[in-house]
Symmetry: C2
Subunit: 322 residues, 2 copies
């Protein structure tokens, strides 16, 4: 069940050596939220219900929702658990594709039939429909109104909003809480703290209750509860980060386009470019110790996360100099 | 699916107030392994395969095993996942009881029939047999030779060694790797870092492979991988801690016995006492802002973890003064 993922910098480093790699193979913000000083109890004690509730309150405010919600060890944990709590293997799941490959893999492993579709209209009538919004890797956006209409035309609509933080008006979280809709949120990407392992599922009360039961009493580490509550409660940081990313997206696009790559999509956290030869483009960047993401299903697409510190931007600019 | 657990200090504190509580309601070492300085990447990057492998190598040395092993977010995560990967709900599980209540709860939730038995001999012939060794809460020890014999008389033997760190000769980990045996280890209890969420399952290759697949690519947080590798690699700390606990067990037993409680069992990390009235005993300690564990299935038993700093020992001594 090995799927390819970004973040596999170890392999690139092992093959080519060097220790000053810039990992742009993921959509993880490279200017992370500063980890606050942690109470010793965050490490030593079993995570408490109070700490969990503080996190959930901060998440509810940040995501503008009053829907039932569960905190899990990453959006990935929610993706892994959803097929298990939905039970009834053998049912069909339609996934708007191409997209993050764990959705199909986890449903398939759990015994569901997975039908990739490339048109949102083809989701109508599905028993379970999955949409990543904005989509990874192409950044396709589906308006919330369309998804709210779709919700009534499918058995269950799952919207993975792992990259939605800079676009709060895109989110269905404020509209969640009725049956038939589950929204997934990632903490680690926008806040640049993927090692923390934190994410959320919210929406349909019965499904959230089943996820909560399956997750057990301590699904999230004590430090993650504290860091998550602090970061999700810091609206000023989120706004400043969104503004920074909004200014930097044109900067990386201009570099790539000047190098001859065509913009194929993206979000505030990663950009997708069409190149004559994605593998060669990845090799070229790797010669500059910059790691990128290419896809087994496309010979021409390459995805880059945004650099962080100015020195990283300069390294990328040098690599993309003609 | 709310089960009672230790570590619920929030509730005691909310009811009685005060913020200088000593939590002896768990078996978590109150003199924790010092959390080392962490590389920033432990927080920011997706946990890497290299970091996971360093942890597994340290765990293999500490547990003296070469068996297939998977790192999970706590022994609790292994307990939750085992019924799911064993599949075939409807089968019967025999659990040597009374013991940690999550084993029965998780198998029962997954659709298995749970048969508690109070005699190890009654496990013979079981499809799945579960033993906690040393047992929680009574500290009962089953010799490894007996369990190795039992392994051949059951379909699958699961040995939860969450409290075995101070008794390395008790562990079946060095004998694991053949089919039909799975050993669970907890990191947070002996090392006093329960908030980290780290544990291990090792043994039967097919079952460990299924747990690994179900756990997904990033089941353990980046800081947990680093802290676990450092702590499990520190044999001197483990030895010093075992010696300290060995000296402190008679100290707490003497206090309790002088107070009129009878020793009913225990391990290096917690002690079980028989009292005239467990609820009254818990209330009495709570009046001194010391939190303890009592059990819904026993009106007379109370469990205490060992105090940590000397001031905590003096507080307990004062509470148990006649």
């Amino acid at each position: 069940m090995q799927r390819d993922h970004g973040g596999d910098l170890d392999r690139a480093r092992a093959k080519r050596g060097g220790d000053d790699w810039i990992d742009l193979s993921t959509g993880i913000n490279r200017v992370p939220y500063p980890v606050p000083a942690l109470a010793p109890e965050a490490w030593t004690a079993l995570p408490t219900a109070n700490a969990r509730d503080r996190l959930l309150q901060a998440a509810a405010r940040a995501y503008r929702t009053q829907a039932p919600m569960v905190a899990l060890a990453g959006a990935q944990a929610a993706i892994q658990m959803l097929p298990l709590v939905l039970g009834e293997a053998g049912r069909t799941v339609r996934i708007l594709s191409p997209t993050y490959n764990e959705h199909a893999a986890c449903f398939s492993t759990a015994g569901f039939t997975v039908e990739p579709v490339d048109d949102p209209a083809a989701l109508v009538g599905a028993s379970i429909a999955i949409v990543v919004n904005p989509n990874n890797p192409d950044g396709r956006l589906i308006p919330p109104a369309d998804l709210l209409a779709l919700r009534k035309q499918v058995g269950l609509l799952v919207v993975d909003e792992s990259f939605a933080d800079p676009l709060p008006d895109l989110s269905l979280a404020p509209h969640a809480g009725e049956p038939g809709l589950v929204v997934l949120r990632s903490f680690g990407k926008f806040f640049g703290l993927a090692g923390v392992r934190l994410g959320f599922a919210l929406g349909d009360a019965a499904i959230i209750a089943r996820l909560t039961a399956m997750a057990g009493p301590w699904p999230v580490a004590g430090p993650a509860l504290e860091i998550g509550a602090a970061a999700l409660g810091d609206a000023a940081w989120a706004q400043a980060t969104t503004e920074r990313l909004s200014q930097e997206v044109p900067r990386i696009d201009a570099m790539a386009q000047a190098y001859g790559w065509a913009l194929a999509g993206g979000t505030h956290l990663f950009r997708l470019y069409e190149t004559p030869d994605a593998a060669a483009a990845q090799e070229h960047l790797a010669d500059h110790r910059i790691w990128s993401r290419i896809f087994p299903w496309s010979p021409r697409l390459i995805r880059l996360g945004l650099p962080g510190m100015e020195c990283e931007w300069l390294r990328l600019a040098a690599a993309l100099e003609r």
